[in-house]
Symmetry: C2
Subunit: 421 residues, 2 copies
């Protein structure tokens, strides 16, 4: 899995930089004051201390970051005079959370984030851009078709308001259960338990529980209650977002309006995103985020709104492995192993290996002639190395295509030609 994880990180970095996102890294250790938000997450923060208790008091107030958004906000506030805005950044680092260990949950895991921030006002285009970039990343990873569910806090707020329902914790918690318990059970909670009028609840949920594809958007807009400013503001933001998104591709990420997406009581103030793998919705979202107004201002008196998305990379790879979405990788990335025929050939074998490296082949060498050629070649096969080369004598080589033919070569050029085939 290490090879796959490396490839995923490389692809993520490549795509993000294609769109002008700059790479930053922040320390894993931050002040606890920076990390703590007086929310549920605080319970999961790991603080650090000297194991032998000899640390100075400086360290007692520090801990490991639990996501990359809070450290990014602190970074932007701190470096705002040195940055060019809108500032696009990607970040891919480990984070730590004291969650109870369970299948698919990790206490130490990689997150891969992109965000854009700008002072005062960030154009609505960026809500589409971050979705576009993350969709391009996910498509590059080829884990099958996915759906990015998009909504907007203002839109949901306005929609609820139009039916006389406030956007409160209990209401959001009920709506969050739509997928699990269904419209009828949520209707019961909102009307019988929370006391909202049943017919309003029914009409409201009929809109909220819909998944609206891009082509059905204009029809959906026509069904909305009119004369609610918050709703209209959210609707307009969603419309401009969907207009700026790239066309859906058949094997890629499909964009869908899902008004019920709320991302709990997070810091999001506008667009919110969740992404599921088609057919594997039970794993929940693998790429989430949203637009925030006030995150950076926790660390600065300037207003620096932003929008971003985050992928839980370690968890996604665990899903991919469990669901056979990725092929098992080989033990070695080497292209060629230079076997050792006998001790006299060690120097010539080393020189040949170096020439292969210079020709662009990742080449490893063997150094125990006691291990017979047959064993050396079967080990290469087990490690997944495609070629084994034996330097028989000066300018006489035998090249084994593992699991295939062997070729005798009377010059290094012939070896290179045989490798190229």
């Amino acid at each position: 899995m290490q090879i796959i994880a490396d490839e995923y990180q490389t692809a993520f970095k490549l795509v993000a930089s294609q769109y002008g996102y700059a790479h930053i890294e922040t320390p894993a250790v931050e002040y606890l004051d920076t990390l703590a938000s007086k929310g549920d997450i605080d319970k999961e923060i790991y603080a650090i201390h000297r194991a032998q208790g000899e640390g100075d008091s400086v360290e007692a107030d520090r801990g490991l970051h639990f996501d990359l958004t809070v450290p990014f906000a602190r970074y932007v506030a701190q470096h705002q005079n040195d940055l060019y805005f809108p500032f696009r950044r990607y970040q891919i680092q480990k984070v730590w959370r004291g969650e109870r260990p369970q299948k698919g949950r990790f206490r130490e895991f990689y997150q891969a984030d992109i965000d854009v921030v700008a002072p005062e006002q960030l154009p609505p285009y960026y809500d589409a851009e971050v979705a576009t970039v993350m969709a391009a990343v996910l498509e590059t990873w080829q884990l099958g078709s996915m759906t990015m569910h998009i909504s907007n806090r203002k839109f949901l707020d306005g929609l609820l308001q139009s039916f006389g329902i406030p956007m409160e914790t209990a209401v959001l918690q009920a709506i969050d259960k739509l997928d699990k318990i269904g419209v009828e059970a949520v209707t019961t909670i909102l009307s019988d338990e929370l006391g909202y009028e049943r017919s309003a609840v029914t009409d409201c949920l009929a809109l909220i529980s819909r998944s609206v594809g891009r082509k059905e958007l204009s029809d959906f807009w026509a069904e909305l209650p009119s004369e609610n400013e918050t709703l209209e503001a959210g609707r307009a933001e969603l419309e401009s977002l969907f207009n700026a998104l790239p066309e859906d591709t058949s094997e890629g990420v499909q964009f869908v309006l899902d008004p019920r997406i709320a991302r709990g009581l997070d810091y999001y103030t506008g667009t919110v995103y969740e992404t599921t793998i088609d057919g594997l919705e039970r794993y929940g979202s693998i790429c989430s985020g949203g637009r925030y107004t006030d995150l950076v201002s926790r660390f600065s008196n300037k207003k620096l709104p932003g929008v971003g998305l985050s992928i839980g990379l370690t968890r996604l790879l665990a899903i991919a492995e469990a669901e056979d979405l990725v092929q098992p990788t080989r033990h070695s990335l080497s292209d060629v192993v230079v076997c050792l025929l006998n001790e006299e050939q060690e120097k010539a074998s080393l020189q040949t290996a170096q020439r292969l490296r210079e020709a662009g082949y990742r080449t490893e060498t063997n150094h125990r002639a006691k291990v017979g050629l047959g064993k050396q070649i079967s080990t290469a096969e087990a490690k997944g190395i495609p070629w084994a080369l034996v330097v028989e004598s000066d300018d006489t080589y035998t090249l084994y295509n593992i699991g295939g033919d062997k070729a005798s070569c009377t010059s290094f050029t012939e070896v290179l030609m045989a490798l190229e085939k």
Copy 2:
């Protein structure tokens, strides 16, 4: 510096994989039992705990790794039945040490390590290979010429024995001061303070304090005291190591025998290495390591000898920056910025940006038409982006070579042709 750090990591990974080294990553958090060695380093280990004190007891016995060698040894012991030996691995991760903060010392920093281990017996060739790979890495980074100082614990032990001096802590500490206080002062310590015969100390230090280039090796061997088995074993290992090293290159890393290198009272049992930047020796070693017999066996009842080298990457970059060995980098890696002339051109600008990406150009886009073109182009210049493209209307473009000419293009193909120049 982030861009440089990324390039260094990429180059390290590339070179290591060219030699067949496999990438592994280990968790940052290990059992304290695994980390603790009853040595000085134990004081620097950070343990973790839940900030709010609600953690289960499972976590009380864990801490952050302080190097990559100990976690690697634990990893090899744990996975020995799944690995192919000799197992070559590289690892590049952050480590944490509770050192008192001072210039050039960090509490959170990157290390880049390579090691090879094998059961029972690891051929002496690998001592040369790890030095070769790290020299190739250091040459790729182009930080100027360097010297890798190589010695051998058996060689130093035998040399001391031959003059009736035991290899004890106090003796090694004195020898370690040779560079700082000179031969005479060390002679005084060994003879007057520690009581060894002055003439023996003088003769011994005359050999130990030498730096022996590769061409002077055979002459140096002839000067050694005879009939000490430990000395001869160390000498033979050094000779075979130097024979297997690549030729020194003028702009690269020079290999020198320096008998005084001892690496303190570390776990090393044979070859030891330290590397200094020529002219910047005062910073100490930037790439160190050695051969160990008993490290993996701390976690396993099997004997798994190994040899490895480690670079303190964060510290090396801090030196490179302080000494102007690296050029300052630009704010953005983007090749092109697509400027926004007016809101009507936003869709065409986005499409053009996408075509540029597909043609291989890292392309960012602007989205505030209110910001005039002059300002957009001067920002591109400040960010270090070489090209700015304005989509004037369908199939009419102006391409600015920042700090140079501008070109009018009447098709996207003309834009690509102008960019290629």
